[in-house]
Symmetry: C2
Subunit: 369 residues, 2 copies
């Protein structure tokens, strides 16, 4: 039986169900990022209260601290962080290339220095799979090289081909029956390389197809263009995961193209920096205009932060560096994201995607102007 069921399409937007070892996830879905075995500032109870069914964990960080052996000994990542629902782990590839000083990239894998203490580490398809299996991840990502932006055609080709060889090795090494395995499409900003990558991945028949190597510094318009070009070529019967994306607009644009899964630090990181997503755009809570503002962050939001607290109070907390600022702002932003995706799912189920999409884009343009 397949882990993914595509239940409804409305134009290209898709509503489906993904079954993991820790529950069923409705798609489209947004996965909060729990880098170091915690979604920053949140408890697992709050994540469940908001409605999340799956979160993301970072292989790179957990490998370095506390180490997958420790997590495994303590019963796996779910038990370690007390999270009973789904966990997807990335492969560590992206962080090796973005956070570490690379020592040596070979066919075998990549030698790098820990960004914590400079110690020498090594990741390969096999070690990445072993780490993710030790963590007990529900969805294990292939180990890949994230092609930087900009990259020439030849660079992108070479990088993609390495990632495809690594994908095959990853698939062979991922022997944990309870876990799903996702491949990652690479190929830079070149459509034909992306299609080649998809075809190569099809051969190893992963449980899901992720698009990697986007949102790595390219203009937003180019990212949207690439998503629109790549997504139609992904197998319809598998979940489509756009890695590391994005803003509310990015997400709605990608759902419109047929993407099912998202993760991003934007809602949590922005929250800690005092920026709240609202139905009328971003509210930067540090601004003096909110000093005596008794209204909630977003009058159209039903979250407990908007029910209980004024902008004036939230500004006061932020200005004073209070932990409660990060907590309340993060809760609101995650609620906003989950609520947005829930509305997307409803629009698709009701076959009213186009109306929803047009309305959202119009409102988005308005809040910019």
């Amino acid at each position: 039986m397949s882990s993914f069921e595509l239940i409804k399409k409305s134009q290209s937007a898709r509503y489906g169900k993904l079954t993991t070892a820790h529950g069923v996830v409705e798609t489209p879905v947004f996965m909060p990022v729990g880098t170091k075995a915690t979604v920053k500032a949140m408890t697992v109870e709050e994540l469940e209260e908001i409605g999340f069914k799956i979160i993301l964990g970072n292989t790179y960080h957990l490998h370095l601290r506390p180490g997958e052996e420790v997590v495994k000994k303590l019963g796996g990542l779910h038990k370690f962080m007390n999270w009973p629902k789904g966990i997807l782990t990335d492969s560590g590839g992206y962080q090796v290339f973005s956070l570490s000083k690379i020592r040596k990239l070979t066919e075998e894998g990549v030698e790098f220095q820990s960004h914590y203490d400079g110690s020498k580490c090594f990741l390969s398809p096999e070690t990445s799979m072993q780490i993710q299996m030790d963590l007990g991840s529900d969805i294990i990502m292939a180990f890949d090289e994230c092609t930087p932006y900009p990259a020439s055609f030849d660079e992108a080709l070479k990088s993609m081909e390495l990632s495809m060889r690594w994908a095959k090795r990853s698939k062979l090494a991922m022997i944990r029956k309870e876990s799903l395995f996702f491949g990652i499409v690479q190929g830079g900003m070149f459509e034909d390389l992306r299609l080649k990558s998809i075809n190569e991945l099809k051969e190893i028949n992963p449980d899901g197809f992720a698009i990697g190597g986007l949102s790595v510094g390219e203009p937003i318009e180019l990212m949207h263009e690439m998503v629109n070009k790549i997504t139609p070529h992904l197998p319809e019967d598998k979940p489509h995961y756009l890695m590391g994306v994005g803003t509310p607009l990015d997400i709605v644009v990608a759902i419109n193209a047929g993407i099912d899964m998202f993760d991003c630090v934007i809602p949590t990181r922005n929250a800690r920096n005092g920026n709240a997503f609202t139905s009328t755009g971003i509210v930067s809570i540090k601004q003096a205009q909110y000093t005596q503002d008794s209204s909630p962050l977003d009058p159209n939001c039903g979250c407990k932060v908007c029910k209980g607290y004024s902008r004036a109070y939230l500004r006061h907390l932020y200005i004073n560096n209070e932990i409660l600022s990060s907590r309340l702002m993060t809760y609101h932003n995650l609620y906003f994201y989950n609520n947005l995706i829930e509305k997307c799912r409803q629009a698709i189920k009701a076959d009213q995607w186009t109306e929803f999409f047009n309305k959202f884009c119009a409102a988005s343009n308005q809040s910019k102007s």
Copy 2:
């Protein structure tokens, strides 16, 4: 009708009920410190879940940020911070003397520099009362000078006499009917000055008697000695509040002497520094011995942190500077404090105080050795 009802005594330990405009508080009671309109790292829901019925707010900090006019305009401190239960505010006196550069101390009041930006401020009995009334505090503290330690007899006398004159002015200025008014006993480490202070306060008949000027740097034994000397002279029909105290042992010793109310930053501050109170002493979670420790902070604790998380996970969060570390550690420590006080209340109600006290002191000695 009196706001305080002494219901039961077991030796000198007292069980009572204090009625405020925001609910009834059983005593002995511990009040978490919510300096800047938030008990650091906690939501109000969590404070209620733990069982707290009253918290403390700091007049000095709230006067400087966001200012009592802002809080008043937004509906008072309860509404501002979304806390429906009791609030006691200190007078600001202690912080003026501990945090600020004092410019000038006169009969009228004290001119000082804000520790935030160096701006010139002035507090007097009348301004302190006005601020606390604007905040909408349930229990308003007299404005006093906190006598430093050490102080000579003459210094302590002079300081106490000033505080007593200020107490009278405070009482006259505190005209808010919904609020209770507490006087503060001063007099340094001199018993006869303390008795003189009590007698002067009796004349203005406050709703409660606080002991100030302890836990200001003197040896713990001296503090305990002073509490044992002062408390028996406080009027039996009024609540007795020992300000800024203390450790679990300090609190139990003070309850034994007849104290009813406590506030202290120890459980919250220690939590953020990685120190947990447990039934077998303090657990410093940063220690390497906990790296793979699957046991909870305190196997004898029923709080949700001890039910859900291992020492290994809590250590991981602390080492990685995760906000969740402060959250979980603070929750546990506040639960520990509230639970300790609840046990004290039960022992008094059951007239088994002496047994409880002796057992607690014996266990306390053991965990030290």
